[in-house]
């Protein structure tokens, strides 16, 4: 995972190569300047605090500054269990975020409901919003979280970025 060497490609003169260069440059810029919205609910929040702190530093990945307003954030990290009462709030925050945005399900409760399979919890936030990276663990070790962030960065790099189009998955996919 960590062995991809990251190099900004050289400038060419052909149009489609120029467009792909733009996409790669935008991807490079976006992946190294993630502004997270830590939607912290439960125990995983403790591991989130550890990941953001001095030992397992999230700042090295460019994702240091949490932005507590959805308008200013582009990475929604759902940390901890989301229950049925919290679900509308999560959805609202997701809708308030501007494109491009990514979602990380941090912890197994956010990925699939964890072992709380009962009347109160949502079985995974992907039942409410589309998720890009799932980081399982209860709570995940900080190294696992960093691995998840690097996976997300690779995904951001590989996406097609343009300055005008929205490329995110639709919130409610049309029924087939």
């Amino acid at each position: 995972m960590a062995s991809d060497i990251d190099v900004v490609p050289a400038i060419t003169t052909r149009r489609d190569e120029a467009v792909s260069f733009l996409s790669k440059a935008l991807g490079w810029a976006r992946k190294y300047s993630l502004f997270q919205y830590p939607f912290v609910t439960a125990c995983c929040g403790m591991e989130y605090m550890t990941v953001a702190s001095a030992r397992y530093d999230l700042d090295r990945f460019g994702a240091a500054l949490p932005r507590f307003s959805p308008r200013q954030a582009d990475l929604l990290m759902v940390v901890g269990t989301v229950n049925c009462k919290q679900a509308p709030i999560l959805r609202r925050i997701y809708e308030q975020m501007a494109d491009p945005k990514w979602v990380v399900a941090f912890g197994v409760c956010a990925s699939s409901g964890g072992f709380y399979d009962n009347y109160a919890t949502v079985q995974g936030i992907d039942r409410i919003i589309p998720v890009d990276v799932y980081i399982p663990g209860c709570p995940p070790r900080p190294e696992q979280v960093l691995d998840g962030i690097m996976l997300l960065q690779k995904r951001i790099q590989d996406q097609t970025h343009t300055l005008t189009e929205h490329t995110q998955q639709p919130l409610d996919p049309k029924p087939d």
Partner: protein, 419 residues
Amino acid sequence: MATDAKETGVLDPPALPGGAPAGGGELDAPIPTRQMLINLGPSHPATHGVTRIVVELAGETIESMKLDIGFLHRGFEKSCENVTWTQCFPYTDRLNYVSSIMNNVGFALAVEKLCKLDVPDRAKYLRVITSELHRICDHLTLVGAMGMELGAMTVLLYAIEARDVLWDRLTEICGARLTSNYARVGGVARDVPEGWIEKTLGALDRTTAIVDEIDGLLTRNRIFVDRTRHTGKVSREDALELGFTGPCLRASGEAYDLRKAAPYLVYDRLDFDIPVGSNGDNFDRYLMRIEEMRQSDRIVRQCLQQMEPGEIAVADFRYVLPPKPLVYGTIEGVMAHFKLVMEGIKVPAGEAYSYTEAANGELGFYVVSDGGGKPYKLGLRAPGWPMTAALPHMLRGSLLSDLIPTFDSINMIGGEVEQ
């Protein structure tokens, strides 16, 4: 009037709108304000766990406050009613997730009270050692978060570093940093690895150094003291009536600590002090935590000295899994293992309320058993619950900016308050 001005040398101020009396200076004039209803929503950086606070403000003063909780209700009690007694331990871990071993130990003590089991000495010492280490972690998290939310970001980084150092030791003994799942009915899950005791003493030295540094950064810090002293005051009678226990009660002046009042495990063999505050404000609650960390350090060092080699669990196949050589070698071992795993421990029918001194206060488990392998009812008395419920009483008439240190210092942990 020109003649008056010449005589007195002072112009009378004009009458103010709203009919306020002119005179007495413009600085005393009332500013017309409006009541505002503000929502500190469930997703907020300064709320620990998710709580929705609806605050009615007049200017900056809180007239009244309403708390809306339940955004982290995960159905702990109902989940526990559907799994075996031993399978409840991971659920109890995630109640007070910063000091999870204390929840495990509290639950194990409740079940052992019903089963009338007495665990071996070494298990008691191990439970006390790991509980006190987690108590230090809980207080570190609180002090760090309190500093961060009042602007002192460095304190958070130091506190998390100290917590990481302790979590490394706990990982070696339990397997997990945070949600330890360490206690079992009848003892503890596993014994200490090689060299753990020396490493823990080193970790405690490092933690004490960091606690001293945090103390030096915050306790005489002008900004910190100004924001926490005389804010969120609770009198002793109010604290008792509202149900406070633990450091918040002791900060208000009532010297009630379950480790001294109703000693359990090995606390009666240990020598430690109980810090008691006098004002019942946020600063006292913060100081409680710093002092309690130092006392916990004393307790752990004494325990490490006093602990003798021995069994870590009761050698009773009805409650504790038999050791693997017996499981693979004897019929009784295999049968006991099978019954314990498939059906669960058969706890005699009855009910019991067992209480321990967790980091935040009295952690109580009310267990009702119907004689089977699953709990009939597992009621949790969360230590943070009365303090959270009392927030509207504590903050009536305070400034809005006093809400944040008060909310920090009561240490509301979402997992336990919302079960």
